[in-house]
Every structure is written in C-alpha cells, then in structure tokens.
C-alpha cells in the first residue's frame, strides 16, 4: 500500500495552470491523492458489500448453512 502511494506521488501527471499556489497547495494535492485512493477503497467495499448481499439473497440459505458448517 505504502509503495503504491509512493509511486502515485512520483508518477501522477500534474498539469496545473492558472493560479499560483499558496503554502497549502501541497496539502491540496496530497489529499486528492490520498482521497482518490481511500475513496476508491470505500467505493470497492461498498460495491463488494452490495454484490455480496445480492449473492446472499440469491443463495442465502445455502451460504448461511455453509458458514455454520465452517464454524463447526
């Protein structure tokens, strides 16, 4: 994960124009990077949950039984 962020920091193609940065500009950029990655994780998690719940709805009983078997 850390490696991924480090690569993102180095490789992200910034093409900024039109305004001079204030001292908070770096903070502005880093949160876009962090936010983009963490936001994607949240989005993936949300969709994964949705997919999981649809599957559970479809095969709810079997899955529950299997989970119980696994626990035992």
């Amino acid at each position: 994960m850390q490696f991924f962020i480090a690569c993102a920091l180095l490789l992200l193609p910034f093409s900024f124009a039109n305004a001079y940065l204030d001292p908070g500009s770096g903070s502005f950029i880093i949160q876009l990077i962090i936010g983009a990655m963490l936001g994607s994780l949240i989005a993936v998690k949300t969709y994964f949950k949705k997919i999981k719940s649809s599957f559970l709805k479809l095969f709810g009983k079997q899955s529950t039984d299997k989970d119980k078997d696994d626990e035992e």
């Binding site: 962020i5 305004a19 903070s27 963490l38 949300t46």
Partner: protein, 464 residues
C-alpha cells in the same frame, strides 16, 4: 461597533465575524458575508445535532441593532469558565480534541456543510468534554471540493500527537512557538524513521510534507482537481484511524505506581483535607474559579470541584496531568480541568501583537488559588525567593490557601540532598513575613501528625 465593545485580540483572521466583550460578557458578531452559512447551520439541523451531542457551544441570538454596516447578527455563546490552550493539554486531551473535530466534520458533511478551519485553539474543555467554540467554523460543502482545513488539522492535531506518541511527550510545547500548529516538514524530520512504516503517518505527515515542499512554487488548475464525496469520507476515516492508533505508551506500564503520595500519616492527610475544606467553606462567597497550582493528580483539587466549583488542576508533570484527565473522563466529572503548567515559566501572551493567546495572569485572577506542597519546589528547586512567590501569587488570586513545609521535612531534605543549602531565608518566620507584605493572613493551622502548616490569605492587590 459601539464604543463600549472591545474586540478580542484573537478574533481577526476570519472575515465571517469576531468576538467582542461588553460589560464582562462575551458576544460574537456575525457579518453579512456569513449570513447564508449561518442560516444553513441553523436550518439544516447541524446546529441542533452538534449542540445536542455536546460538540458545539450553544448560543442565543441577541435582539439588538448592531450599529455596524457589516453586521448581520449578534449572538451570545455560553460562558467558557477558563480558556485553555493546546500547549497546556496532555496527550489524551489533544487526542480527544482531534477526534471531536473529526466527528464534527463527519456530522457537518451529513448536513451539507464542512469545517472551514480545524484549529486546536477552537476546541475548549467544558464540563469535561471537548467542545467547538467557534460557531462560524462551518461553510456550505461544495461537492468535490477538497477539505480546506486538512493542512491545519494535520498541523494542529496529527503532527503533535504523532510526535508525543512516537518521540517525546514534551514536544507538544512546540505549539508555543508555532501557534498555527507544528510545520509538517519539522514534524517529519523529528519523527523516527520507523514511522515511515506506519501507513497513516506516512501519508498524512511524511508524504504530505514532501508534497508541500515539491509544490511550494508551482502552478495548479484547481478547477480540474476534484475530491469526490467518497474520497472525502475516506480521508476523514483515515485521519480518525490515524489518531485512534496513537497512544502514549508510558501509560501502559508505570501508571498505577507512579504516585505513592505522602511522607506523612493517613490521619495527617485526612486532617489536611479537612482544613482545606474548612478554608473553602469559610470564604465569604463560594469561589467561581479555583486554580490548584501543583495539583498533581487532582486529589486536593477535587475538594473544590466536588463542591461544583470550576477548578483548574495545574501540574508540571505530564503523567500526573494525564492521570488526572483520565480520572475526570472516566468519572464524567464536570468541574475539574487538568492542565499542564510550568509555574517557573508560565504561559505568556502569544501571537499577533501579543494578544492572540493570553498569559496565565491575563486569564485570572482566580477567586482562590491552592498552593499545596509547592513553595519548597519553587523556592529550593528553582531558587525563587519567597517574597517573589508571594508577590506573583498576589496578582493571580483573591484568596490563597498555601502550605508551608519546613526544611526538616523529608521531602524538603530530598531536594536539598544533592545541593548546598543556600536557603537561609527558607523558614516559617520569613515565609509569614514575606507573604504578609502582599496578603492578609486570616487563618493558619498546623497539620496534626506533620510539621506542615496551612494558611488562608487574602490578596491586598485584588479586591472583590
């Protein structure tokens, strides 16, 4: 503005409004430029949710004409018994303040608003809880706009907490020099290299500092830079996790045995408590504010706070303050506030024109000061002549409960054991003479079972 309004020296940065004092009462002016945001705060349900959860200071609207073309409204916030600053807090206080700030941001987003600043100075401990006192800290959340307060949050909360947790608890004192929080490049250089392996600290401090440096003089087009709502939630959750994972490790080990309290008997100890209680009860008026200087873990402070008197329990030992705060938090105590204070170098006036942050003296006087088992530390460990202690105390309080411990007491002997005894004036007679120059001594009582004496005095400098 009316002539009898005095604008607070700390209230000039935000054009949304300012704080002013009128006849010893604090008010906040809301300027017209903030009208829409204020309406949104009230109408969106955000104000109600935050105040109901004890996260935002309550206020009432004042129905008077402003007398100022910029003015939209005056509000009167609930009174804050004592303003404290982050450099007077211990680890858990800063941590709780950080988590409260992030909780506020989460709730604000739910109501379509966002925090436009995240200053630790905007948080105050009231009735034992961290509370946002700046009602004008909110603005409408524009979808996809990054969090403008992110840098400030990292500088005011995450960086000092990381330094305290991973390096040294005393580094919170950097706040006294850097009043807009610890610069992230400094924090990054001070933190151990091992913190690069901590993903949260790597992102929010080390990478953040490097990005600040890298883009310090470059141009960006902010219109093409977006932070989705998911991304913003991810950012806030990540900061919450980062803060929650920081601990003051010392607390797990030496905690319980840190203070073995006294060198005198249980009965003498009980007698001391009883005398202090009697001294407080005998005062002509119940004090509104008590400062316990050298309050340790707050044992004697609680004599006052248990009487529902707002009591500030100051100590120079971070561990004692931390323990005191945890006890307060655990017992949900509302009238005690533990704070760090080095009385040999007390908090001074700081910031622009020396008016943004007030000195200890300026935040006084206290109605009552308790200085128990303290004088020998100031006089012998720090070489302060007793007369100078008396003079300073007389500026800080109306009433004083002070304990004198003679030189042959084992605690004083301990201080003298490693140095030459140059303190020929450290005796009870000179103590009384010196204090009598600034105070009227109204009562003195020997603590049975010890050689110690407790005094109740009234300052001649400060009158009712």
């Amino acid at each position: 503005m009316k002539n009898d309004h005095i604008i607070l020296g700390s209230s000039f940065r935000d054009p949304s409004g300012f704080m002013f004092r009128e006849k010893n009462t604090l008010y906040r002016q809301i300027n017209r430029s903030y009208k829409e945001n204020y309406s949104l705060l009230k109408n969106s349900g955000l104000y109600d949710e935050l105040t109901e959860n004890g996260l935002l200071i309550e206020h009432i609207e004042i129905e008077t004409s402003c007398g100022d073309s910029e003015c939209y409204k005056h509000i009167k916030p609930a009174a804050v018994p004592f303003i404290s600053y982050p450099y007077e807090w211990t680890f858990s206080q800063l941590k709780d303040a950080a988590l409260a700030t992030l909780e506020i941001q989460k709730i604000a987003m739910k109501h379509g608003m966002t925090l436009k600043d995240a200053s630790a100075f905007n948080i105050q401990f009231i009735e034992g809880k961290p509370l946002l006192i700046d009602t004008l800290s909110f603005e409408k959340y524009e979808k996809k706009k990054p969090w403008v307060a992110y840098r400030q949050f990292c500088q005011h909360f995450l960086a000092p907490l990381a330094l305290m947790s991973c390096k040294d608890i005393r580094l919170i004192q950097l706040f006294r020099v850097f009043i807009d929080g610890i610069p992230l490049d400094l924090a990054s250089s001070l933190l151990p290299k091992s913190t690069y392996a901590n993903i949260s600290l790597f992102m929010h401090i080390h990478a953040h500092a490097k990005t600040q440096k890298r883009f310090a003089s470059k141009q960006i087009n902010r219109r093409t830079s977006h932070l989705s709502e998911h991304a913003m939630q991810g950012l806030i959750s990540s900061l919450i996790n980062a803060i929650k994972k920081l601990h003051w490790k010392k607390t797990n080990t030496e905690w319980d045995k840190y203070y073995s309290f006294t060198n005198y008997s249980d009965s003498a100890f009980k007698k001391k408590k009883k005398i202090i209680e009697e001294f407080i009860d005998v005062l002509p008026k119940t004090p509104a504010l008590v400062w316990d200087l050298g309050g340790n873990t707050g044992l004697f402070s609680r004599i006052a706070s248990n009487k529902e008197i707002n009591t500030i329990s100051f100590d120079i030992d971070y561990l004692a303050v931390e323990k005191n705060y945890r006890e307060m938090r655990e017992k949900k105590e509302k009238h005690i506030l533990p704070l760090f204070l080095d009385l040999t170098n007390p908090s001074t006036n700081l910031g622009w024109a020396h008016q943004e942050r007030e000195s200890l003296e300026k935040r006084g006087p206290a109605d009552l000061i308790m200085a128990l088992a303290l004088i020998h530390h100031l006089s012998i460990s720090n070489n302060v002549p007793i007369g100078m202690i008396a003079s300073y105390f007389s500026l800080l309080c109306k009433y004083l409960i002070v304990e004198f411990i003679p030189k042959d007491d084992s605690n004083v002997q301990k201080l003298l054991s490693t140095r030459k005894d140059i303190f020929i004036k450290y005796n009870q007679k000179n103590f009384e003479k010196s204090f009598n120059e600034y105070f009227d001594i109204t009562s003195s009582q020997n603590i049975e079972g010890s050689k110690r004496v407790l005094y109740l005095m009234i300052s001649r400098h400060i009158h009712e």
